[in-house]
Symmetry: C2
Subunit: 352 residues, 2 copies
């Protein structure tokens, strides 16, 4: 495994990633550093970062409580106030140390503060390592709509240090595997086959690296998300809608669980459209449920679900546009889907 | 006068600009259009736009009260809510019809809504026509700091229609001339000479066009504001600080008036540093005061002024960095300036 060259920045991967970070910081000579973290990355990861990079001992630490509900404008305004009070200038570095919530939030805050200050990601969850840290997309949730305010902004670098996975509980590791399965389904049948039983996977590093490579190939072809990059959104049209509805009801749901359900539902639609066979659909559904456990019945009011779906960024001119599998290992984008197909998929899901 | 090709988009200039807009809209076929305006552009300009572009008769109109104090996060969140309620999608166009406040605000809102929806500017003030509409910079004021949250984002096109100047009062026309004088001072001595008496200028179109050409040449060399583009900020380090302080005190000040004072002050610093001669300084000061009228004494507490200056985006590692004239028609950037030089300039200004 080597480093990955993305769109104007490098992703450093491996057990020595924090040493690469130290060299990077010495070379760049930022006027000051802020480290954004949550209570988990603060306790379990920050000490390792500071040991590897002694100059970060004097960095300003900003702690945000973990959880998607804090990926909000309120959190942003609180932290921008800190930046202004502390006189952060255009040469101040923001280090996002945490999972997907931290990188989404920190990437957005940095990209608009003083029209953009430099930032880097140090992902600490499997989900952030395998997916969120690469590609420059960031965002916050607004009015109950996932990532409805955000930018696509280039980090200065990304440092993926797989040993941080040891700080996670099983629940959060599983959550991250969902995006690895998604990458396999949309782009790599061989990886899908290799993932047949993740309980047999010892060190997930090779799968994380392969996911990043696959994602990078797609992102480089369409950095601004106008065309083929949309395939990365497979499972996320319905996944995000479900996630938003559960959050609106004041309940917790991991992003991975919602996307897992979304992938099953959207595979059903792909089957209805005869993009994939019934056999493929059954294989996908069975494998996902066996690996991630059955998702509870989706109890949502159809109109509420459609309301959320109506905010999906891929929609165009009042029609729903999904990314749908063409087969295991390949995905189409901008496919028009109608309400009937969506309801049919949900009914099948709830019956199963 | 022709159109101007900027960084990936075209600026259409002239009395027929609204016809170009009509062709543009027919070609692009956006799923829907929102028009952002203030009470003035709504009353005086929107009817002309709709006559030239009949399809905009069914556009959604969003009115923001005029004034810099509305270039705020509160305004943004109110309008993003409208966007979500109205199901604005990624193919929705935002048309910013107004002065610099409208283009700054609308450009920012569009650039982060759903990670960026298309937007265009139709500037209606001299300031917006000659300066703000070109270059992609946008932003809102946050915690009393001008443009402290924003992005650099590419509009789809800009349409400059000089006849809209007839809708402005004399006060607002003068306000816009300040940025034309700034362009002359930093980049074109010939234009500076030609501007010796603007009361003799009948149609200002040629000066607006020349300002845009000069600005475009600079922006194309440094679109992301990392180097020579900073010369465009001449007069704005102290200008923005003064503007913020006056606004904090609950008083009104036109951007142009603040920048005019800023240019005189920063020219004094350039003279202290022997970048320009005493004769040049006197010529600049005399001409600006004769044209724009004397600015009132700057009564501000030195510490408050330094506090505001400390937030300037050009600062680096705790030092003040200004863009200072090298001579009339040329400007240096990233010049380190100290408190003593700043105070000396203010004392000279207040004595005059």
């Amino acid at each position: 495994m080597a480093n990955i060259k993305s769109n104007g920045y490098t992703l450093y991967f491996g057990n020595n990633a924090l040493l690469s970070l130290n060299s990077f910081l010495i070379k760049r000579n930022y006027s000051r550093c802020f480290i954004l973290c949550d209570e988990n990355s603060l306790q379990h990861c920050l000490p390792h970062v500071v040991i590897a990079c002694p100059q970060l001992g004097k960095a300003d630490i900003i702690e945000v409580e973990s959880g998607e509900q804090n990926k909000s404008m309120e959190t942003c305004t609180n932290i921008w106030e800190i930046f202004l009070e502390q006189k952060a200038d255009k040469n101040t570095l923001l280090i996002n140390l945490g999972g997907g919530v931290i990188s989404d939030l920190g990437g957005f805050m940095a990209s608009v503060f003083k029209r953009g200050i430099p930032f880097i990601h140090i992902p600490t969850s499997l989900l952030a390592m395998a997916d969120a840290c690469l590609g420059g997309k960031n965002g916050i949730d607004f009015m109950g709509i996932k990532n409805s305010i955000g930018t696509i902004a280039r980090p200065e670098a990304v440092f993926v240090c797989p040993p941080f996975l040891n700080t996670l509980d099983e629940h959060h590791v599983l959550n991250g595997w969902v995006e690895v399965f998604k990458m396999a389904l949309i782009a790599d049948k061989k990886m899908w086959n290799a993932l047949s039983d993740i309980t047999q996977v010892g060190d997930p590093s090779a799968f994380i690296f392969r996911s990043l490579e696959l994602k990078n190939n797609i992102v480089l072809k369409d950095p601004l998300d106008n065309a083929q990059r949309k395939v990365l959104n497979f499972g996320h049209s319905l996944g995000h809608a479900i996630e938003s509805l559960v959050m609106d009801a004041g309940e917790d749901i991991l992003h991975g669980a919602a996307v897992c359900a979304g992938m099953i539902l959207e595979s059903h639609i792909a089957m209805q459209k005869k993009f994939i066979t019934a056999k493929d659909y059954t294989e996908i559904k069975t494998r996902l449920i066996r690996t991630f456990g059955p998702m509870k019945t989706i109890p949502f009011d159809k109109n509420e679900l459609l309301e959320k779906l109506g905010q999906d960024k891929k929609n165009k001119a009042g029609t729903y546009r999904f990314s749908l599998l063409k087969k295991i290992g390949a995905c189409a984008y901008d496919v028009e889907v109608n309400q009937k197909q969506i309801f049919k998929a949900i009914e099948a899901y709830n019956k199963a």
